[in-house]
């Protein structure tokens, strides 16, 4: 269980990652109540053209079958728990941004895809933004190694056009994983640039 840092990272105390648990619970409830691939909630090109814009976000939180839901929601809870003490509210904003950007990518760059559901695309965004946040704190090479391994796995899936280990009812969209990572990278870069500008602004504003 990750530690809540407080003011001193080395004197943390055990605290529940409630933000991740809430998100996980919402995803579980979504599957339990709406069932597999509910037409009202999955990303649907036809529904979006009819003005049902909520599917731009909700689609990423729906799943096509139980296996799909179990793996994705487990990953959400693991990643969320791991990153939320660094990301805090950015956990929500990163995921929300990922939902919207991923949906626009699906609309404009995947014209063959009529419907989409599943968390894994936006989880790859979270992986990148979370690892960037972890790196800032720990600077441990093993963290970057894991990011590299995730990238290799996603590239392999992109190359073979198949999910390596999963066989869900809806076929996998390997591109979504890479795009999720790219969105994460973009968020990290914009955020670090913003922070750099802010910092240099502060330095410039310091008297003397």
């Amino acid at each position: 269980m990750p530690l809540e840092q407080g003011s001193n990272p080395r004197h943390g105390r055990l605290r529940l990652p409630w933000r991740s648990f809430i998100l996980g619970l919402l995803a579980i409830l979504g599957y339990y109540i709406a069932g597999p691939a509910p037409e009202l909630w999955v990303f649907s090109r036809a529904a979006i053209s009819q003005g049902e814009l909520w599917t731009l976000i909700s689609g990423h939180w729906m799943h096509s079958d139980l296996e799909h839901a179990v793996w994705n929601i487990s990953a959400l809870i693991v990643l969320g728990s791991l990153f939320e003490q660094q990301l805090k509210t950015r956990l929500f904003t990163d995921l929300l941004l990922a939902c919207v950007l991923m949906s626009f990518w699906l609309i404009y760059f995947m014209p063959d895809l009529s419907a989409y559901c599943g968390l894994s695309g936006i989880l790859n965004t979270l992986l990148v933004t979370g690892i960037a946040a972890l790196w800032q704190h720990y600077r441990a090479p093993s963290i970057l190694l894991i990011l590299a391994l995730a990238l290799i796995k996603n590239l392999m899936e992109l190359f073979t056009q198949e999910a390596i280990f999963t066989h869900t009812t809806w076929p996998s969209v390997p591109e979504a994983h890479i795009v999720g990572m790219a969105i994460g990278l973009a968020i990290v870069m914009i955020r670090s640039r913003y922070q750099r500008n802010k910092l240099s602004g502060l330095i410039a504003a310091r008297p003397g």
Partner: protein, 725 residues
């Protein structure tokens, strides 16, 4: 009193035994018929070779057979096969003295008389008749003692796409709906020497997967984006397939386009399913038979997802100054919204004796359909054979427990007795809750033989309530004309299910229709070019994924405006495009026959509704003979050329076949051309609907990676603490 009780008990036992024995009669397949319990020796099907070409929205099926007579006397061969969906026999060819002689279509009685006369005279003759909606029967006389007779039958049928997936069925499994026929004939369905099934798909739209369920030995090859070949039988080509095919002898064959397409629906999931039908494999070791003609062969092909909604036009007009024929295929875009309200589903299930072989498929289908229900849906189940009764006490909430409970109950039913379809529907129409949207899911082979059986009465019954009827037509030889007419009247839709089908695929099609809005009261208006004889006369509704196919005649050429009007949820909806009708075309002469048969089907519906009328019957005979089609009122007869001449029978079908064969040769030599005509002014903005959902999936490997990340963070934290200490 005791004696009476004992007597009744004995009689009941005898009746039960008799019913049981009836139900155990072997169900016939396609094959050579011999009267049951007769001393007539059986003939042999030596070769059975099927060639199917699917192109431009229709399928041409050519079945060439060699019948062998191993006996010392000349015999008549009588080959029976189920009526293919909307299929009509257009050619019967006999090899007489080594020369192929094609048949001509005459009025049914006349054709029978001519055939019998030739048969009595000992001269070579053949006859193909249609036995209403059940079977086609081809008779050949004589098959000489110790000799072979070669015969070819060709039929045409539309081959359309539903939700991006095409489906072709080579019907072999007899529906078991005709008790008298079952009692009188036995069928020899064994092919003893050579069996081949070759199917070619030629599509201008890219096809990204082809699937042959339950045929592990099928070979599927891709030649180009839209051209695929399927082969089952002895002479499989050994060349390296250009497709990625999975072939497990006891399973299905699925081939996907290579290289793997960048679209995300490049696996066969939407086509896969758990049909309970056993595998029907080509098996050279199967006793003295190389193949048994007792299971349908089903082939699916899937268009690349994301193709645009479109209008395709196929025309035939060899002479610019004369009338032309057109087939317009409208493939709507995905603009029908999902329905999100809870619904009431009333399952009306046929548990009559004719459903015995289909019941496992039915039970599986019902279970899968019920599993697709939403939590706020409700269901009722009505069963019917001689009588109708409710299996459920009123409406049941579609909870997983209740769905399991009632699908188990349905699966445990033993079908028997007759078919009181009217009573079943009548019961289904009761207890409709006016505050909720309701739909009847009728699963039957539709052969009503108890109680009310007149089609008109069924239509009057269904019109009493504003309720959609969704009909699953089970097996071959089903009363498809009546079921389709009834369904159309209710603005519902009908889906055919073979025992060899992927049930899950058919259920997916059905459920995607039920859960989406539909375009009702569809009307087509063509202006700018003179058109007439449009068929179907009444279109009804267009559901998600369905294509609209309209046949008709046109005169002249030039730009036409085509408008499709209808209502979606009570709101007017209109689609429009403009395109050219060509002055001359000669590539697709077959569409003349397809138009004629579609018109005949419209007329047959009139007869089935209101009884036989002389003028309509005459019109059917006229169309049948002019276009060389075997119908309920016309048959095809084959004799030596000189006998045709001596009987003054015009060889119009021979001329038509020559034109068609020349066109087929031309088409064979070139890739499938695009028939899309609305590219300049597309009728639809959105792409076609498909089952093509994609999903982002995390797998155990990635999750393990995340675990590793967590461990690494914890280790780093601990090390940090140690250092700090």
């Amino acid at each position: 009193m005791n004696n009476t009780t004992s007597f009744i008990s004995r009689i009941s036992r005898y009746m039960a035994t008799a019913l049981c024995m009836l139900s155990m009669q072997p169900v016939m397949a396609a094959g050579l018929l011999t009267p049951t319990n007769s001393n007539l020796p059986a003939l042999e099907i030596r070769d059975h070779e099927v060639t199917v070409t699917i192109e431009d929205g229709y399928a041409i099926t050519q079945v060439e057979q060699v019948f062998h007579n191993p006996h010392a006397q000349d015999l008549e061969a009588r080959y029976s096969f189920p009526v293919p969906e909307h299929g009509s026999v257009a050619e019967m060819t006999l090899w007489i003295d080594g020369k192929a002689v094609t048949g001509e279509v005459l009025e049914k009685q006349q054709a029978r008389k001519v055939y019998e006369e030739e048969k009595q005279a000992g001269r070579d003759a053949g006859l193909t008749e249609k036995d209403s909606f059940k079977t086609f029967e081809a008779m050949v006389s004589p098959v000489r003692a110790g000799k072979d007779t070669r015969v070819r039958i060709v039929y045409l049928q539309p081959a359309h796409i539903d939700t991006g997936i095409g489906r072709y069925v080579y019907p072999l499994e007899e529906g078991g709906v005709d008790d008298q026929k079952l009692a009188f004939w036995t069928a020899n369905d064994k092919v003893t020497s050579k069996f081949n099934f070759n199917l070619k798909i030629k599509s201008a739209y890219p096809v990204d997967a082809v699937r042959v369920p339950n045929q592990g030995n099928a070979t599927v090859k891709q030649h180009s984006a839209g051209e695929w070949n399927v082969h089952i039988g002895q002479q499989a080509s050994q060349t390296t397939p250009t497709s990625k095919a999975q072939a497990n002898p006891s399973d299905d064959v699925v081939a996907t386009a290579m290289p793997a397409s960048l679209n995300t629906v490049n696996t066969a999931h939407p086509l896969e399913g758990g049909s309970p039908a056993p595998a029907v494999n080509f098996n050279p070791q199967q006793g003295n038979a190389v193949y048994t003609l007792d299971k349908d062969l089903v082939v699916y092909w899937r268009h690349k997802p994301g193709l645009p909604g479109s209008v395709d036009l196929v025309t035939y007009k060899p002479d610019a100054s004369k009338r032309g024929t057109f087939m317009m295929v409208v493939t709507p875009g995905a603009d029908l919204k999902p329905i999100n309200k809870g619904k009431d589903y009333i399952f009306v299930l046929d548990i009559s004796g004719s459903m015995q072989r289909k019941f496992a498929t039915l039970a599986d289908g019902v279970q899968r359909t019920m599993k697709k229900m939403r939590a706020d849906d409700r269901f009722r189940i009505v069963l019917f054979n001689n009588r109708a009764s409710d299996l459920t006490p009123g409406y049941i909430n579609a909870t997983p427990d209740m769905i399991k409970h009632y699908s188990d109950k349905v699966a445990a039913i033993q079908p028997n007795s007759g078919t009181n379809l009217y009573q079943g529907l009548f019961n289904g129409l009761q207890q409709i809750d006016a505050d909720r949207t309701s739909a009847i899911v009728l699963v039957t082979d539709g052969v009503a033989n108890v109680g009310e059986t007149h089609q008109r009465k069924f239509i009057e019954l269904i019109k009493q309530k504003d309720i959609r009827l969704f009909t699953m037509i089970m097996g071959n030889s089903s009363n498809r004309p009546m079921l389709e007419a009834m369904t159309r009247e209710s603005n519902g839709f009908a889906i055919s299910i073979s025992n060899s089908d992927d049930i899950v695929g058919q259920i997916l099609k059905a459920s995607s229709k039920v859960t989406h809005e539909a375009l009702h009261g569809v009307k087509v208006d063509i202006s700018g070019v003179k058109t007439a004889d449009i068929t179907p006369q009444k279109i009804g509704s267009l559901y998600r994924g369905q294509q609209l196919v309209v046949f008709g005649h046109y005169w002249g050429d030039g730009q036409a405006t085509v408008k499709i009007d209808g209502k979606i949820s009570g709101q007017d909806k209109s689609y429009q495009t403009r395109f050219n009708f060509p002055a001359t075309t000669n590539e697709n002469p077959e569409i003349e026959r397809l138009w004629a048969y579609a018109s005949i089907e419209d007329m047959m519906e009139e007869i089935n509704n209101f009884g036989e009328k002389a003028d309509i019957k005459q019109a059917i005979v006229g169309l049948g003979t002019e276009y060389g089609l075997v119908t309920d009122y016309t048959s095809m007869v084959v004799m030596r050329d000189e006998v045709f001449a001596s009987r003054k029978i015009e060889r119009s079908n021979k001329k038509r076949l020559a034109v068609e064969q020349a066109a087929q040769q031309q088409r064979q030599a070139r890739p499938a051309p695009s028939r899309r005509v609305d590219t300049q002014q597309p009728m639809y903005k959105s792409p076609r609907p498909s089952f093509g959902g994609g999903g982002g999936a995390i797998d155990p490997w990635t999750l393990a990676l995340f675990g590793l990340l967590a461990a690494s963070v914890m280790l780093t934290t601990r090390r940090g603490r140690k250092n700090a200490a």
